[in-house]
Amino acid sequence: MIKLSHRYEQISCRLTVEGFPDVSTGQGPQAIGILTGWSLALAGHTELEGKRDHLEALLKVVAPYARHLISGAPRVFGDPDSPVAIHPDGPRHRLELRSSQPNTPPLTLHLDDAELADLVRCLDQLVLDARLQLNLQTPRPQPLRRSELRKRVPLGRRLAAPVCGMAALGLAGAFSWMVPTPKPGSFSPDQAKGTSSLVAPGKTAAPGKSTAPDKPVSPGKPVVPGQIGATGQATNRAGEEPAPGAQTQTNQGADTRPGPSQAPR
């Protein structure tokens, strides 16, 4: 039986596979069903040779690497024990080939983008060639996971938003501690006068809105209902005669300030 040889070529890469048709499964005379060997010649590098296992290992490493590279998220493929591994190496790609023979150092090839693209195209041609009926186990391209894509954004840029958010939250918290809180407590009769004079005669204040001034209440005399009523009487005596609703609202506004000094009803 004549040994068959198929060649796949690109500018800097030539992949040759040799083998025989598997007659027992009814393959045609031009098909290769039994792979006896393959060789890969990369321009300017040592020619590589191997068996079926090595070809499968090369496919398992290079195809997913190209898949990640097309998404701009390259990463290492190939375990330390596997015969082939590929690493991103700056603008280049480092292809490591480990021999199965003991005490043999791994062969390292540095490929640029064009050489890698040539290699990928050669392997694509091999996989898609209908004459090769080897049932090679090649991973199908899949969309990447979100976590894999996150790595292409630099760490500084990824951390910028959460760090700025935490810093802003911390600053806001610190400022809120610096603002003095109004002391629970007293309400002076002077302020009560001020509030009653804010309400125009004949008009009613909005329900639920306190007309008391916002400035902190100075600790002073405790307010009792009798005093508030006295204030209202004093206003009446001045001849202004505020509307009953307004008077009530003013009193309510004064009463809404909680505090232990308010007399129990």
Binding site: D113, A117, V120, R121, D124, Q125, L128, P141
Partner: protein, 180 residues
């Protein structure tokens, strides 16, 4: 993730980012080939997509689903349309592969390589200014003198790796990537 493992098996529409990248890569092919628009129509006919894209206007209308376009079209692009555009792009990348390789090769003299990149970036910039919305951050990044060259390199590398029949699935899978 089961939904990821079967993403290519079922007809999945391209996400927004995928549409943007697909149209940008077609734009890169046009920047590399002065007659790229015509070549795209011719390639569509060669691949048997006359029913989908009977004329160049229909092709242009599909490409206008890119949100970065100056005159963008709303609505979801059909899976058949995106598949056809991906196949057209892969075929064009195969035709332009020698040029892509020249741009990517580190063996070329530095000055010659710089000139080629400058020519390509100049043409791409003209096309971007003509067709894309310059207020979008993604477009401004492409025109940025610092970030632009890196993005252009990534687009050219993606085109080279998606060239030919073998590149179709790789390109489609990359366009279906989720938002990072």
């Amino acid at each position: 993730m089961p939904e990821v493992s079967t993403a290519l098996d079922r007809p999945t529409p391209l996400p927004r980012r995928g549409l943007e990248r697909l149209d940008l890569m077609l734009l890169c092919a046009e920047a590399l080939d002065l007659n790229g628009g015509e070549a795209m129509v011719w390639m569509s006919e060669q691949l048997g997509y006359q029913s989908l894209f009977p004329n160049r206007v229909e092709l242009w209308k599909r490409r206008c689903h890119n949100p970065l376009r100056r005159a963008t079209r709303r609505g979801q692009l059909q899976v058949e349309d995106t598949d056809a555009l991906i196949r057209i792009l892969a075929a064009m990348a195969e035709r332009l592969y020698p040029m892509l390789r020249q741009l990517l090769s580190a063996a070329e003299p530095e000055s010659v390589s710089e000139q080629r990149w400058a020519l390509f970036r100049g043409r791409l910039q003209e096309l971007i200014e003509e067709r894309l919305n310059l207020r979008r951050v993604g477009v401004r990044k492409l025109l940025d003198p610092l970030e632009g060259p890196q993005l252009c390199h990534q687009l050219i590398l993606s085109l080279a790796l998606s060239a030919g029949t073998g590149g179709v699935e790789r390109l489609k899978a990359s366009l279906l990537d989720p938002e990072p």
